[in-house]
């Protein structure tokens, strides 16, 4: 971590058991009070489960402090109302609802005026397609809805789970720009496999392996350490990345 500054989110010993299977064995991570903190790890390392555990979407134990307050016993909706915007891995867009309805559903009372100006400025397409059912949007447009929802309320934290997964390079760049801009105002926890995204956006990073934290520290330091990259993420072996390894620098950021 970056020294003295207290983190916005402090996760300790986060454990998740689903259907008798231990998926997280004690994850520790901090989300810095500013900028982007990247959460990395190979496929199946437990990144998504960590995020879902933080939010209470799966049964979990351990400690999750938001601004110093314990949230481990809170129901998901109560925790989210404290100021979290979440863009899940599958995008979580409601296919049968229009774009406008998807956004309206995300408006939170007591979170100030919904920032439609900002959302439409960043994603003008969402205004043009307001009346279109979200199920008929392209993957990139759905991701815009998902990210747009996190920007609508005055959040204290944005959590985005692989927002660039499966998107065309042009859209990846657009998403990167939006997150970069959002992170100037709100801290972001970014699950990401695209290392170019991490390089461009993240100041801090956390690496998971097999449901445990295997690295925490400055992103630049990890990215510069070829040996650590190979060991923690499986990047750089035999030229091409092996199955399950983190993608290397493609993706047009």
């Amino acid at each position: 971590m970056n020294g003295s500054e207290t983190p916005l989110l402090t996760v300790r010993e986060l454990r998740v058991v689903i259907g008798g299977r231990h998926i997280l064995h004690g994850v520790d991570l901090d989300v810095a009070a500013a900028g982007v903190t990247a959460l990395l790890g190979r496929n199946g390392a437990g990144k998504t489960t960590t995020v879902r555990g933080i939010l209470g979407l799966v049964p979990r134990t351990g400690s999750v402090l938001l601004d110093g307050e314990q949230t481990i016993r809170l129901a998901t909706h109560t925790l989210v109302r404290r100021g979290i915007g979440y863009a899940p891995e599958d995008r979580g867009v409601f296919a049968g609802l229009t774009v406008a309805e998807n956004l309206r559903l995300a408006e939170r009372r007591g979170a100030g005026e919904p920032a439609y100006g900002l959302v439409h400025e960043l994603f003008p397409e969402l205004r043009q397609r307001a009346r279109q059912p979200a199920g008929t949007l392209s993957g990139g447009q759905q991701q815009m809805v998902a990210i747009g929802r996190t920007l609508l309320n005055g959040n204290r934290l944005i959590i985005a789970d692989e927002p660039t997964k499966g998107l065309a390079p042009k859209v990846v760049t657009e998403v990167a720009q939006v997150l970069e801009r959002a992170a100037q105002a709100v801290p972001v926890l970014l699950v990401e496999q695209n290392l170019a995204m991490v390089r461009r956006l993240a100041e801090h990073c956390v690496v998971l392996a097999d449901g445990r934290t295997s690295y925490r520290g400055p992103a630049a330091q990890l990215l510069a350490d070829a040996d650590a990259m190979r060991r923690l993420l499986g990047v750089g072996r035999h030229g091409a990345a092996p199955a399950g390894a983190v993608r290397t620098e493609e993706g047009g950021v």
Binding site: L55, H77, T78, V80, F94
Partner: protein, 295 residues
């Protein structure tokens, strides 16, 4: 010709009853994944509530005119209240245990008719309705009972109200989204359990209204009415697609008509079988039901 008209309008009236029961069942299942076997009990509560009020037990309510409207309102409100209590007291605490939840609704579905029998007897009681609704009118040579029209009209009004609620209100939006992905709704900071209670209240009211109007249709109330209607309502829900109101409306009409025509033109009782055949054929052709999603 006159027979066809009579059968068609009677089928529509029966379909209207099915729709009133099935719309709530479908929303409850779509949103909460709960198969509410107590839904027939809610119908019976509505029927007996209306009958009780219309028989002069409730001040200002009665069997004619505005008094009857008041009696129906009382029966409907009683059903809605019972549904809310059911959700809060039984469904919610068992949310993590779906099997016990189903058993609990089955239990209520058996207990309520037994309770009604214990209090008012197992025999059918004549249902006091306004004279205007017990007559007939002529249409294309057929004498059609007025109550068929009342039922169909009520179902159309409920359908329109549900569509307005789902399409035009914030609570409706939450319900539609919850039918698709409940967890994501909570991840937007919405307490989806409030939508559960609301959907139970709406479903309970619609089923109780079916009970009240079913009293007109059958001319009597008995403790087993709800249970026998529930079976066909389940068929309607499966045919229409879980969670789809429009699908439930279309399937209700289809089931009501097929049942009436088959019962008349073949042996009585074969209509009920025809409904099952219709269900099987539809499921084979369109496994997700008529619409497959909330519309």
């Amino acid at each position: 010709m006159s027979t066809v008209v009579l059968l068609a309008l009677t089928g529509l009236g029966l379909g209207a009853l099915y729709f009133l029961v099935a719309s709530g069942l479908s929303l409850i299942f779509g949103l909460m994944d709960v198969l509410n076997f107590a839904h027939g009990a809610l119908l019976s509560i509505g029927a007996y509530g209306t009958w009780w009020a219309a028989s002069g037990h409730l001040p200002a309510a009665g069997s004619g005119g505005f008094g009857f409207v008041l009696a129906v309102a009382f029966g409907t409100a009683t059903g809605a209240l019972a549904a809310v209590l059911l959700e809060l007291a039984l469904i919610r605490p068992l949310y993590a245990r779906p099997r016990e939840q189903v058993l609990a609704t089955v239990g209520v579905g058996l207990a309520v008719p037994a309770l009604l029998s214990a209090i008012w007897g197992a025999d059918a009681r004549p249902f006091p309705g306004p004279r205007a609704l017990s007559g007939t009118f002529g249409l294309l040579g057929a004498q059609i009972p007025v109550n068929r029209l009342v039922l169909t009209g009520a179902a159309v009004v409920v359908l329109a109200a549900l569509k307005l609620f789902l399409g035009g209100t914030r609570h409706g939006l939450v319900v539609r989204a919850g039918v698709e992905d409940r967890a994501m709704v909570t991840a937007l900071g919405i307490d989806v359990r409030r939508a559960f209670t609301l959907v139970f209240a709406i479903g309970g009211a619609a089923a109780a209204l079916a009970g009240a109007l079913g009293g007109l249709y059958f001319g009597s109330v008995d403790p087993g009415q709800g249970t026998s209607l529930l079976i066909f309502a389940f068929v309607v829900v499966v045919m229409g697609g879980m969670g789809s109101i429009t699908g439930a409306a279309l399937a209700s009409v289809a089931v009501g008509l097929v049942q009436q025509f088959a019962n008349y033109y073949t042996t009585a009782g074969l209509g009920d079988l025809a409904v099952v055949v219709l269900l099987a054929a539809l499921l084979l052709a369109r496994p997700r039901g008529l619409t497959g999603r909330l519309a």
